[in-house]
Symmetry: C2
Subunit: 413 residues, 2 copies
């Protein structure tokens, strides 16, 4: 059986239309990287690009770089590149700040649109960072807003006229469970609520259609599936019909209609630039630009098909090979209901994950007992999935995780 399946994985890789993309990335020797949902692999071109930006653009052009290398346009230009990956129209997205700061911008703007209802509805599967930001803003605004958390599967039923803002992360960071963005946004609108989506685990992982879904705001991260590097700039989307009236709470000089007029009165820019704040981080944006080059011409339908197939293969392999060791699927079995990650509950999940990482199979662990594995379709092979599970099975069988000093020497290749 295993031999047959390995041939099959190799065959799948041979016929994979995304297979050539792997060449665009640096994959460390001996590593099977199943953590692209936390920090994506390095696009090879980013090395030369960063050297050029630092040594030449900054070093030689100095202040002239803002014009000569169009640094000043990067938030909007890269926003337009990201827009293509999330179903947004041109001129609706900017790359700026962190995901959390962008959430603050979107949530304050959303709350201003709804005067009377006072509930921010979210779910217990939302990333804690998003909940923290809502808690801080509720306290700071002091207007009696409430954060209502329900189980992910209860969100739809909980949308009612008390809800000011529906604030959800499309793909659950632990389980990979995926919300139906279009349906929940429609329900929110029917109740008069504003829909705000966090795409941290969606952008670059699966086709997103913020425009088609009618999302009012979306935010997201570029260091996960978009591969822009540790702590890379985030993005924010504003639905076109809101752009003319959103008054940014964080009203910064880059969001001004004419930043270089040095007018003492704030006047928001007409486009999504009004959602930018301070001087753009050119080094981080340049790495993002190089990372987005890799996405040129990529068919998100192919990304999704491969992502689902990788996840399905992983589940099948783990359950067949490691089923006797107490692992229990923590993600939806139906690939349509998942993002691009799969989690398993395991009693000794933490030391098992440490042992896996020691063997070069890099996933991560989320308390209390979740082993989490991400599948980045641009650089992951079917063979990697089979090999990773073979190593996992060996670790479980030999109980190697009880002896972190030892390593399995004979790696599956």
């Amino acid at each position: 059986m295993p031999a047959t399946r390995q041939v099959s994985a190799a065959d799948l890789d041979k016929s994979d239309p995304l297979a050539p993309k792997r060449e665009a990335f640096h994959i460390p020797d001996g590593v099977i990287y199943l953590d692209g949902n936390s920090l994506g692999c390095l696009p090879k071109a980013a090395v030369a690009r960063m050297n050029e930006v630092v040594a030449n653009e900054w070093g030689e052009s100095l202040i002239r770089g803002w014009n000569d290398h169009a640094w000043i346009d990067m938030p909007a230009r890269l926003g337009n590149r990201i827009a293509k990956l999330i179903g947004a129209a041109p001129g609706t997205v900017v790359a700026a700040d962190s995901t959390s700061v962008n959430l603050a911008k979107a949530l304050t703007a959303a709350l201003e649109m709804r005067e009377n209802p006072n509930v921010i509805l979210s779910d217990t599967g939302n990333f804690p960072a998003d909940l923290y930001m809502a808690q801080g803003l509720i306290r700071g605004l002091g207007r009696g807003h409430k954060l209502r958390l329900v189980a992910p599967e209860e969100v739809e039923a909980a949308i009612d006229e008390t809800v000011a803002v529906l604030m959800l992360t499309e793909v659950d960071y632990r389980t990979g469970r995926r919300h139906n963005m279009a349906r929940l946004t429609e329900k929110a609108h029917e109740a008069g609520a504003v829909a705000l989506w966090d795409l941290a685990h969606s952008a670059g992982a699966l086709p997103v259609d913020v425009g088609g879904a009618g999302a009012d705001f979306a935010i997201g991260c570029t260091y996960k599936y978009l591969n822009a590097g540790p702590g890379a700039p985030a993005f924010i989307y504003v639905r076109p019909n809101h752009l003319g009236h959103v008054e940014p709470f964080l009203s910064g000089w880059m969001g001004h209609e004419a930043p270089f007029d040095f007018d003492p009165r704030y006047r928001p820019a007409p486009g999504p630039e009004r959602m930018t704040v301070g001087t753009p981080p050119i080094l981080g944006l340049s790495a993002l630009d190089a990372a987005l080059d890799v996405w040129e011409g990529v068919d998100m339908g192919e990304v999704r098909a491969k992502s689902m197939a990788l996840g399905d293969l992983f589940i099948q392999e783990v359950e067949e090979r490691c089923g006797g060791y107490g692992l229990k699927l923590g993600s939806p079995r139906d690939a349509e209901a998942r993002g691009s990650q799969v989690s398993f509950h395991a009693e000794n999940g933490y030391p098992i994950m440490q042992a896996l990482i020691g063997e070069g199979v890099i996933g991560d662990f989320r308390a209390p007992d979740l082993m989490r594995f991400g599948f980045a379709p641009l650089y992951l092979r079917y063979q990697d999935v089979v090999d990773a599970v073979a190593i996992l099975e060996c670790i479980l069988r030999t109980e190697l995780w009880r002896e972190p000093r030892f390593q399995v020497r004979a790696k599956v290749t």
Copy 2:
């Protein structure tokens, strides 16, 4: 006279204790850079450091870099490095976000400390970005706060019991006029107000003593005199006695007491980390780290002495050589009352500055008529100042600025 003075400048350079620091920077050929107050020159070591961070730390370590390269500690570690340059105690500064976002954190925290007075007092010389942020927060908070702007010289008299927050930039971005931080902070405290200082044009330009002055909050920028690159991460200082009770309005997961517990309730970290929000921007922070290496062992007293001498020499040279062309000093004549920059009013300031830049003398222009020149003591020579003014005189005398197609061929060297 000029010949004598040029010898004198060369002598000054020979006896300049900071002269060896120039070697740490890349200065483009043919450039006299008088815009380090906008974007500092590239520290040579940043090139190799960025390559290492991108190719090795990110490329090879991937997610393990957060621990293996202590990325997670960078905001606090670099904050401590900056603290030394601004007179702050260890554990009171973090490097994070943009100056504007840090202003939002500090201003919201400051407003929470003062319930009844509703005035944010600032001056007309403050950077518009800071005024925009105050305007946006006042509108967004909706609690009837008012932004009161007075002329810089009227600030002290305007501090009264109606003031909740005194929000000032120490050094005026146009004129270089410097506020007396210690005295104004003391006056603010006597009136019961909170003192918030923007150090954008101070950090790395002159000795700052936020601790001694008793400033409650300070924010600042690292891409000017600290030379950390375009759009580099900013910093925020919180007075030690406030650290225990400041409740961040922007409550992000990096500000959580235990970010990796994924606790759904926000609990602020005990130290200045509570003022951080999203995932730290590792590429930008790494460039900042390399830039701060250059500051090791630098005596800020020597920086200040050279800065004042460079500014005085510039004023003397311009007035002696270019006095007949209508230039009028727009900065305090007394070096003690200036930061590290000097501005001149000039009727045709914009085209004159363009001609200067065409000749490699890079300053900048601020409407309506200010030609602005910054003096970064770590890499600028006295001879540069003399040469820059000689080129300026030639441009004015020949009216070369009316003919932007032509250039002065024989540069003073």
